[in-house]
Symmetry: C2
Subunit: 377 residues, 2 copies
Amino acid sequence: MRATGPGARGVVSLRDVADRAGVSIKTVSNVVHGYVHVSSATRTRVQAVLDEMNYRPNLAARTLRSARTGLIALAVPELDLPYFAELARHVVREAERHGWTVLIDQTDGQLERERQVMNGIRAHLIDGVIFSPLAAGPAELTDREDHTPLVLLGERVYDGPFDHVAIDNIAAARIAVDHLLSLGRRRVGAIGEQNRPSSGTARLRSQGYAQALTGAGLPVDPARIVPTDSYHRADGAAAMAQLLDRDPDVDAVFCFNDLLALGAMRLLHERGRAVPGDVAVVGFDDIEEGRYSTPTLTTVRPDKERIARLAVDLLAARLDGSDTQGPRELTAPFELAVRESTTGVSAAPPTPSPAVRTGASPRRPGPAGRGSPTSRT
Amino acid sequence: MRATGPGARGVVSLRDVADRAGVSIKTVSNVVHGYVHVSSATRTRVQAVLDEMNYRPNLAARTLRSARTGLIALAVPELDLPYFAELARHVVREAERHGWTVLIDQTDGQLERERQVMNGIRAHLIDGVIFSPLAAGPAELTDREDHTPLVLLGERVYDGPFDHVAIDNIAAARIAVDHLLSLGRRRVGAIGEQNRPSSGTARLRSQGYAQALTGAGLPVDPARIVPTDSYHRADGAAAMAQLLDRDPDVDAVFCFNDLLALGAMRLLHERGRAVPGDVAVVGFDDIEEGRYSTPTLTTVRPDKERIARLAVDLLAARLDGSDTQGPRELTAPFELAVRESTTGVSAAPPTPSPAVRTGASPRRPGPAGRGSPTSRT
DNA sequence: TCGCGCATGTACAACGTTGTAAAGGTGAAG
DNA sequence: CTTCACCTTTACAACGTTGTACATGCGCGA
């Protein structure tokens, strides 16, 4: 038996509305959904009751029937790494276009948490996952037991059965280092190598760095490649200190992300080295902070909005079944944003504009272009 | 009629497991929940099947019965404002202790979106909301039609019927400005005043600024108070330019958040003004960036972790019914972190440590202290 | 005038889970 | 040997929604 009227917590169900309006539950449901075959008299009356009682559909019940929640998860290492915060913003915005809400998971780069993300902690509660792995490598990914559609960001995992969106990290790193070489720098260090075997992104950036040096006929000196535990400012500062100790005459440094670069610049400042006078610095990610630092930071600018859009659209295609092909490998474009930390020229506009940019066109501009992403199965 | 075996998408239900194990659905459910009165033989057998079939409970169904989802929403203006990213991190972490997942809503400070957050877009899908309003004022809040427990952050809305967690903004602002005055500065500007009537936080910080000046026997010159549209670096730079135009001899500036301060410092640099030599700068929020900027930034450091904990615990108390009292008004502590942008003394440790801090004890240390928050009904 | 078709509205079942109540089975106590 | 108690397991209903199938009633054409 059910008491008349809405339940204890003031929650109104279709049934409550139906009772009050003197129609069946299904009719109310039909009105809510704008089903055509409802007389306008009935519609008006029911709608009035709906408004009056402030009816809100119960998404849990709806989900139970439809097996669709309208939630997708975005799993990133840390929200307060600006790169991920900015990325999250774009993902949230793109998801909105599909009527989705984004649930954000912070893995802290811990393998166990990443494993949970992949194997569906919140099974049935989320329709899909966009995942930026840090600790998880090919092995863990392949062992995945969950069936929720998954899109990987940032790191390519061999030929795993996963959709994947990234930029061409090797090319980006090479272009960044080429830029340093074009300025006449010859003792170029690198900060951000990762010792953990799983980190594909770091390895790719290392490769690009080495390719650029080799391409210019310069040796790749392992002493100038400083690994870090993580990608925070403090790591960049510590690594820069180490680099200076190893080679006091280093004249440029390529950092694998902007935070490392900002930490490195801070340390250079404390050690009395001028940037770029003594040491030129390039970062990676183009976080907003680098446009306001002193000096402003030259950096690789991945198209975050595009990355977010590609990832969300790919998920959408998997969800509505419009894409049943094998795993996709999509590439987003990037640019090199040249600023004071390499050129020393302060553009110094009346108000600091978001930096001078030298567009370096993406390595594969065609296929990665708008609307027709590359697919490699 | 139901086909035997798991459904089309490989989703395994209790029923599938029960069929395979030759027991009733409820027995499987009992095993899943570790119910005591299950023979160990049955338990072992069922558990084996559970593992084998990789059963995952359907949270939607569970929610439908229990009316609890284990999801809470955190609604903030922008995720890539570092303050909110850092806060989000803490909230996620605290929520974890309660077994909750955090769903993040980005309102962009738009009234319409804030209204949706309050009135339960995702009704029944979230158990509670932690909300940092920007556009919504007392009027909108009071009109709220949803019954989901809500905790407000950062801004006090009159005597509205809402739980609320904040720091003492007036005191914090006053201490920041007192610090500038104690350094001998006498022409102190303020950046970040908000023209929209709803912004309580900005008004409180303005008040603290005025109180400090008045307390030192100085006049409050409206020309030195520059409003901004929002709280980004660009706003800070633009406002600083305006402030210099109005009073070229300004010797200090109190910014209502760190991003404004960083933008202001950038502009001062471009105009050739030394910080703190010519102009001392104080920010608000203590985002990590300010510990690595050049110069490092003196700022008010609200205890974000505490804020997050108080908010989450308060929500928990409302949810489990252990707190049915009237609305709570909780206060978190803060400190003034004194760094180079006011003192000019570079501590210059081997690696930049997270700043020299001068603890300014919270104005109401007792009641705001650990575990026994103030309550004002 | 009768019957057909369409517009409108309804009953029912099912999604997967869990609380309740009760049934079946076993052993011990009388 | 009977009975009772308890341990174990099960059937059932309900959470709120929506797709399917069907009932009702009206107007229109034959």
